[in-house]
Structures are given as C-alpha cells and as structure tokens.
C-alpha cells in the first residue's frame, strides 16, 4: 500500500516486515525516528520482538551481537558519532559472521557539532567488514533494508543500509509499503548457520593465533566476493515479488556520454535533474550512481567507465590528507584498465551544504573545460574569505 512516510520510518517499516526479533537502540539525531517507531511496534504488538533501550551505541551493537549469536534476526540504527562509538563492535560483528542489519543515517562528524548530511561517518567504517548500501530515497531505503536481511543471511556478513540525514531521513515521500505476505515470500524465516547452544557447547570469537587468524580474515573477504556474485540474483528474486530493482550501481544516460558524473545518496536525484537540463542543451553527460560501496563493485565500475573520456566524481565526504573517498576507490578500480578515463574529483555538500542542480552543472563544465585532472580534489563552493 502506498503511504506518505518519512525516510526514517521506511527503514522502521522494513525492520517490522522482516520480522526482526531483537532491536537495540540509542537515540541520535537524525536517526532517532527509526528506533522510536520500532519501540512503539514492540510495545503495541505490531512486532513480536524485544526492544532494548541501551545506554550507548557501543552497547547497542554489543547487544545485537549477543542476540544475533543466539540465532535470531536483529536490528539497530545509528548515525555519525554513534557509528564512530560503535567502531570496535563493527569489527566484532563482521568477523563474528553475524547477519546483523543496521540503518545508518549519514551525518557529519564534529567538531563543530553538525547534524546535517555527510558521508564521512560511514565511509570511515569501510574496513570493518560490513556490506554498505547507499540509498537515494525512502522507497529504496525500505526495499534495501528488506533485501539486506536476505543478503546478510546468505553470506553471513552484517549490512549497513545508509540514507542521507534530513534529505531522506526526515523527508516525507510516497512509499509503497509491501504486505507482510509479500515480504514473507521473499524473505524466508531465518535459519541461522550457527547459534550458541548449551546442547552443543563451543566458544565463539575466542583467541585466534597467527596460524588461524589470516584464514578467518580471508573467509570474510570470500563472503564479500560471494556478495558481488549473488547480488543480482537476490535482486532478481526481489523484483519477482516487488517489481523493483536498483542494482549495485546504476547508469543513467551513459551510452553516448563523453562525461559521466559519479554520485551517491540523495544528491543523485538532484543530478538526474541537472543531467536532464544539460542534455537539453546538447551536452553528452550521464550519471553513474554508486549504491554498493562494500563490497566495491570494481569490475562493473571499470566496465561502465573505461570507454568514457572523463569521469567527475562528486564526494560528499573527505579523507584528510588524501581526498574524496569515492574518487580514491574509483581511481584504484580503473588503474589497471588498458583504456581508462581521466578522473576528476570534487568535494561538495559537506556538513549538509546544499548540492544543487547548478552545483552539478558547474562540476560538469569544469570537467569539460579542463584538459587534465588535478591530483587533489577540488572543493566546490568554498568561501575563500573564511579560510
């Protein structure tokens, strides 16, 4: 049924429909609405689940690690400093091979305090072993959360479903909320591959000496590679039931493009408008939207980008001393291709600053007019007088 709901609540609805059994939550703007709704569902019986109002995000993740180890479906959600506080447990959850799903709302890291959107919080967790899926709007967030459980339980890795602060989390949009029977058809009852059991005692997450540690890490990477292999098949199954699919990445008007703009998150919607306008002016420009960042679909990206002349990557994030994080990863995906485009890196929209259609047009013409990219990322819309 189509309903007008907040992006945050699109994720809450998906967790409800996934028949999650244990939810731990701690409030942080702009994530709070996700867990608020879930605590209501647990209280009023719309969910048969336990909600644990923990005392920190570190404890939220520790709590769901404990619960998931017993072989039940779990959920938590966080943002920004909450995610940073969880960092230790993100490693723990992934290497425990627990299929935890977490809603993550991209918010800037302080100081200064800033509650608005910025991807640096989740990208700083890229090496923890979590699958990361970036969503453009509320419908995609709902669909991706349901899909995340299917994926997580097949590969035994945790999944982060990521939306932009406010632009998605607090924006009301028409969203098709599926029927429970449809979700049940796509997402079967959870059958854990392992669970703590007093009838079969073993130790989980115990000391791992050098003779075994490397194989344990390799097994996480093999699960990441399997994720790339099976993602399309899971989307086929999803499409069969719900009629929608997104792809690990999406190419828009790229067939004859000379320049492709790489985007992620809600800025992609703005970029779609900018590209429509540029196309009307005769500019040969397309979009590559990245949804899956971990595992990084390097081969697909290289195939999609290697024939184009120039690529402009728009990063709403930054790695100090290096550059935009998507730019770095795309460059590394392309570096061994015989034929590869010039990659131009742009930093825009940090800490919730608007990325408008004009921002994308400026980025497009800047890329078009430059003969070669600069080594460093170019910061868009910087007020030099404030530096």
């Amino acid at each position: 049924m189509k309903q007008v709901i907040e992006g945050s609540h699109a994720i809450s609805e998906a967790a409800r429909l996934a028949r999650v059994k244990v939810i731990a939550g701690y409030p942080i703007t702009p994530q709070t609405h996700i867990i608020e709704a879930l605590s209501e569902y647990c209280e009023d019986g719309r969910m048969d689940a336990k909600f644990i109002p923990v005392e920190s995000e570190h404890s939220a993740m520790a709590s769901v690690v404990g619960a998931a180890s017993t072989g039940v479906r779990t959920f938590t959600a966080t943002s920004s400093h909450g995610l940073a506080l969880m960092h230790e447990l993100l490693h723990w959850a992934a290497a425990s091979r627990l299929p935890i799903v977490m809603g993550e709302v991209n918010r800037a890291m302080g100081p200064g305090w800033n509650i608005w959107t910025d991807q640096t919080d989740s990208l700083a967790q890229r090496d923890t072993g979590w699958i990361q899926l970036y969503c453009e709007d509320a419908q995609e967030a709902l669909d991706t959360t349901i899909l995340a459980y299917r994926l997580a339980e097949l590969v035994n890795l945790p999944v982060m479903v990521i939306i932009d602060a406010f632009f998605v989390s607090h924006t009301y949009e028409p969203v098709i909320v599926p029927e429970q029977s449809e979700v049940d058809r796509f997402l079967p009852a959870y059958k854990p591959k392992f669970e703590i059991d007093t009838n079969n005692p073993f130790a989980l997450n115990q000391m791992a000496p050098p003779a075994i540690y490397m194989e344990m890490r390799r097994s996480v990477q093999l699960a990441m590679e399997k994720t790339l292999e099976i993602y399309n098949r899971i989307e086929d199954e999803f499409e069969d039931v719900f009629g929608r699919r997104y792809g690990g990445m999406e190419t828009i008007r790229c067939d004859d493009a000379d320049i492709i703009i790489v985007t992620s998150g809600s800025a992609t919607s703005t970029c779609r408008l900018a590209v429509d306008e540029l196309r009307k002016q005769g500019e040969k420009v397309g979009i590559l939207k990245i949804k899956m960042f971990r595992p990084f679909p390097a081969a697909d990206l290289a195939a999609a980008l290697s024939d184009v002349q120039k690529v402009a990557v728009v990063d709403r994030n930054f790695s100090f001393g290096a550059g935009g994080i998507f730019t770095q990863e795309i460059k590394s995906a392309l570096c061994n291709c015989a034929k590869r485009p010039d990659v131009f890196g742009y930093i825009a929209g940090l800490g919730g600053r608007d990325i408008t259609t004009d921002t994308f047009k400026d980025i497009y013409f800047s890329t078009k007019n430059m003969t070669a990219p600069k080594i460093d990322s170019q910061w868009v819309g910087i007020n030099e007088e404030l530096l």
Binding site: V22, A62, P201, A208
Partner: protein
C-alpha cells in the same frame, strides 16, 4: 566425612591456560558447579579470554561468547533477549569479567544493564589490577598497592572503588560478595543467584593472583581467606539494594594479610595503620547497613 554443597560434576577441563594458583580459575570451576550445564558465559577481554583457550579448543564444557572489553553485561543482555525470543527460559546467561571489565571500562554497560534490570548474572572475578596485560592498576586496586603503573614511591594512594555500594545503589534484586577460600558460601550464592531469575544479579568474587601480587601460588587460598578474616573483603549479600546480610565476621589485623604479599611490602607502619583505620571504618559502615 565433610558435607559439602559442591557438585562432583565439573565443567572446567584440566588443560586450561591459567597461571598456577589462579584465583580466577578456582572461581570459575566452583561457579560452574553451582550453575550447571544450562549456562552461557559471556567473557570480555580479561584473563579468562586467554584461560579459556584458543580456537578451536575450549577449556570449558559450556558455551562461551567472547565479547569486547567494555561490553560484558550488555552482550549478555543481548544473549538473554535472543533466548527469550526463542522461548528458552531455562538457560542462565552469565557475564564473567575481571575488575577492569567491571570497575573501569565495563562500568557503563554494567550500570546500564543493571538499571534496565537485565535478566543476567554478572560476575566480577576481582584480582585487583590489570593482570592479563601485566599488572597495571585499575580502580579496584587497593590503597598501598604497587603495580607496573604505580611503581616505586608512586604506589597507589587512592582507595579501591566500592563496587558493591555502586551495584546496591542500582537496587538490583541480588548482589553478593564471595571468596574462593569459602567454596560452600560461594556455591550457595551462585545457586541462589541462579534461582533468582528475572533481574540483574551481581556477584563480586575475590580471586587471588599469585603472578600479580608477588605471592607463592600455594598461598592463593590462604591469602584469600585472610582477606575475609581481616574484614578487608567481608562476605555479605544485598537484596533489592537495601536488605543486607553479613555472612562472616573477621577479627584479624590487616597486617596479617598485607605483610605476606609482595605488592604491599614497601608500606611503612603509618601506611599500615591508615589501612587498618580504613578497614575498620568500612566494616562499621557495613555493620550499620546490616542493622544487627
């Protein structure tokens, strides 16, 4: 023949990695005898994360979920929630942490879990310093102790944190001290805690560390007994945060306990006098709380 409430059945294998005379090992062996096979242990970083053994072996015959240093209580609460949703009400979930994972880095999640009255038993096996990392001071380290981070004349000048008062202030159903030198009392308290399902139960176990305390391993139980006989570690229970019961009353001077341990050997007469005054004042306070 001596009558004892201690079961013959054991859940700890001889091949574990504890040091000779380890009080933490004795504590675990006794605790599991009381708790039985329907027990899940949650162990954060601490000596027991090592003692239990490396992959793929285990030194215990009950399941263990190892978790991060700060998170013993809340991970155990998560396990409990998962079991509850599966309809398993029989299994006892036990967080088993050292003093660092209880008094210091673990206190936030312990306090949060106790305030929520999570249905777990939290055990602190207290060896009064960070022993697994090589004897660094913790907030459980008593006044007067020399550790590797309170060396020389910089021996610890502040007092041990009163964890039982903190837990009692949470008004949890049950909090108790126990001592490896009093096995019947220890086992009785674990059995009682197990039977009191439904809320947070806290057991503070005195656990000697010959390696960190500078004592011969064969003195492990003797020194533990002296801790209670000198009232330095009194045995008592607190129900619902206010109802105190004293289990033993000591009458020996603190010096009997202090003088035979390497960690205290630098203390002068005035320091020992100070410690005796502190012990006496604390014990008086406890007697007042017991009320009889």
């Amino acid at each position: 023949m001596l009558h004892s409430n201690i079961a013959d059945q054991t859940y700890m294998t001889p091949g574990n990695m504890s040091c000779p005379g380890c009080g933490g090992g004795i504590a675990m062996n006794l605790a599991l005898k009381a708790l039985g096979e329907k027990t899940i242990l949650v162990i954060p970083a601490c000596c027991w994360a090592i003692i239990a053994g490396p992959y793929p072996q285990s030194g215990l015959k009950v399941p263990i979920l190892h978790t991060v240093f700060a998170s013993a209580a809340v991970t155990a609460g998560g396990v409990r929630a998962g079991l509850d949703m599966k309809g398993d009400t029989e299994t006892t979930v036990v967080a088993w942490a050292g003093d660092g994972g209880t008094f210091d880095i673990g206190i936030q999640s312990l306090s949060g879990s106790a305030e929520r009255n999570e249905d777990i038993i939290f055990v602190c096996y207290d060896n009064e310093a960070y022993m697994n990392t090589g004897v660094q001071r913790s907030s459980s380290t008593p006044y007067g102790t020399k550790t590797t981070t309170t060396p020389g004349t910089g021996w610890k000048k502040t007092r041990k944190k009163n964890m039982m008062d903190i837990m009692a202030a949470h008004r949890i159903p049950y909090a108790a001290t126990a001592n490896i030198a009093y096995p019947d009392d220890l086992v009785k308290k674990f059995q009682k805690a197990k039977a009191m399902k439904g809320g947070t139960r806290f057991i503070h176990v005195y656990a000697t560390c010959p390696t960190g305390w500078g004592i011969p391993s064969e003195y492990s139980v003797k020194i533990a007994r002296l801790a209670t006989q000198t009232n330095i570690f009194p045995l008592f229970e607190v129900e619902n945060g206010t109802d105190y019961t004293l289990n033993t009353k000591g009458n020996r001077p603190a010096e009997d306990y202090l003088n035979i341990q390497g960690r205290f050997k630098h203390l002068a007469g005035k320091d020992l006098k100070q410690i005796q005054e502190d012990v006496d004042r604390d014990f008086e306070l406890l007697i007042k709380k017991v009320g009889h």
